[in-house]
Symmetry: C2
Subunit: 261 residues, 2 copies
């Protein structure tokens, strides 16, 4: 557990640093997306390590949009997205990590969890789907799980897309009013919104208990979508650059190989 | 089985219609990729049907490059790529369709098989991994399997990326000479090349036996990579356009919904 606990309410979800508008960052976003694409190619070729990205947010927080806008341009052969919704009966009949574990990235891959094992200390806690002592023990279990993955050369990076309660209202309203967005609207989101404070507490505890050196949480101000995209693209490209994946050497002596006609 | 059997040797792998150079098609390729991205978004939102793309080719035929160049730009959340290599011990202990079946696309998704169940009538036949009567029965089994998928609203489209034997030599040579491509070189490819004619026969039989109304094979001239990309992007966008996926209507009456503060 980190020494410095965070208080989510202290984080300004609306900030975009000193940028004013989308146009100010377009060039850098393009640059970061290019870096991301090139580094992914090397990660895939190297085939030794992998990257696991966890995306969490309140409803309408922008998980789907982030994937579309940050990762379009990435080679889908090296990138797999798993969206976790209500568990199936089979999944419910296993320990809570079971459905996440087999979807962790194989060597060379970037895997994105759109929602994740954190739901098991978020919605599960807020909706009281298990006893308190059950979800309380999960922070520790999650830390151990993530450390184990890290020891298998999986780099983990976790993003909480932070929006204000007022912004969520605007976004829900916009889904209702826009025929192309209506399919994303669920009456359930309106009900969940009534539990806003409980969810914020649950997020804050999850971030405080599970932000580790080996699997850090980033709280991303996400009102301005273009700023959110930039922050995430930059963090991912920096993370991959620090991993510095390399094209592998030849596995056999190739000096005398002749390709026959 | 189609009435008109094909002879692979009659297909010019080097053609690019009346186009001369990459620049001639760049605009249309961009247009087709945009269409593909937009139609995918509607397919994903509709969440009723899906698209299964089978990519097969001789070694160096361009399967990986096709995925990178045609699908970069597609939202990875709606697109999953499965690459099939040597089966695992567990996979070998099941019927030949087992490892492919559970990876077929769920509703709303585009799934790409990079190699596929066709390997079980290609390499398996050429390398004599099973008795003749075993692989011979598989054409029929594959047709039934694909028809069953089609009846579950999965549209299937299959591409054979056709290159000449001379072109393969150039490409293998280029992998040996280019440090960024060397990781793709395998001495095994040189050995497989010696079985070129046997593989061409096996492909020809697979295409003739398994090109159906509901799951057609396309033989794509693939020497010119930009032409190959255009042919495939166009065929996919046309296929999705014919499916004409729609944003779903609201599932509940939304006229009186108020988003609470």
């Amino acid at each position: 557990m980190p020494d410095n606990l965070i208080n989510l309410a202290d984080f300004d979800a609306d900030t975009c640093e000193s940028y004013r508008k989308k146009k100010d960052i377009e060039e850098e976003l393009e640059y970061q997306r290019d870096r991301l694409g090139n580094l992914q190619q090397r990660l895939y070729a190297e085939n030794q390590r992998s990257l696991l990205i966890v995306l969490q947010a309140m409803d309408t927080g922008g998980k789907d949009g982030t994937i579309k806008q940050v990762f379009s341009g990435v080679n889908p052969q090296g990138c797999r997205v798993w969206s976790f919704k209500h568990p199936s009966l089979e999944e419910s009949n296993h320990d809570f990590l079971w459905r996440y574990h087999w979807r962790t990235p194989q060597k060379g891959m970037i895997t994105i969890f759109n929602r994740s094992h954190y739901e098991d200390v978020l919605i599960v806690r807020v909706k009281k789907l298990v006893e308190d002592e059950v979800w309380q023990k999960r922070y520790h279990i999650i830390n151990d799980f993530e450390q184990m993955l890290t020891l298998s050369n999986i780099t983990i990076i976790k993003f909480f897309l932070h929006i204000s309660k007022a912004e969520q209202k605007l976004r829900l309203q916009s889904r209702l009013e826009n025929p192309d967005k209506l399919w994303k609207f669920s009456i359930n989101d309106v009900n969940e919104r009534k539990l806003w404070d409980e969810y914020q507490s649950a997020y804050q505890d999850a971030i405080n208990n599970c932000s580790t050196d080996y699997a850090p949480w980033y709280v991303v101000p996400s009102k301005k979508k273009w700023y959110r995209n930039l922050v995430i693209a930059r963090a991912l490209a920096d993370t991959l650059a620090a991993m510095n994946p390399q094209y592998p050497q030849a596995s056999t002596d190739i000096t005398n190989i002749k390709i026959p006609d």
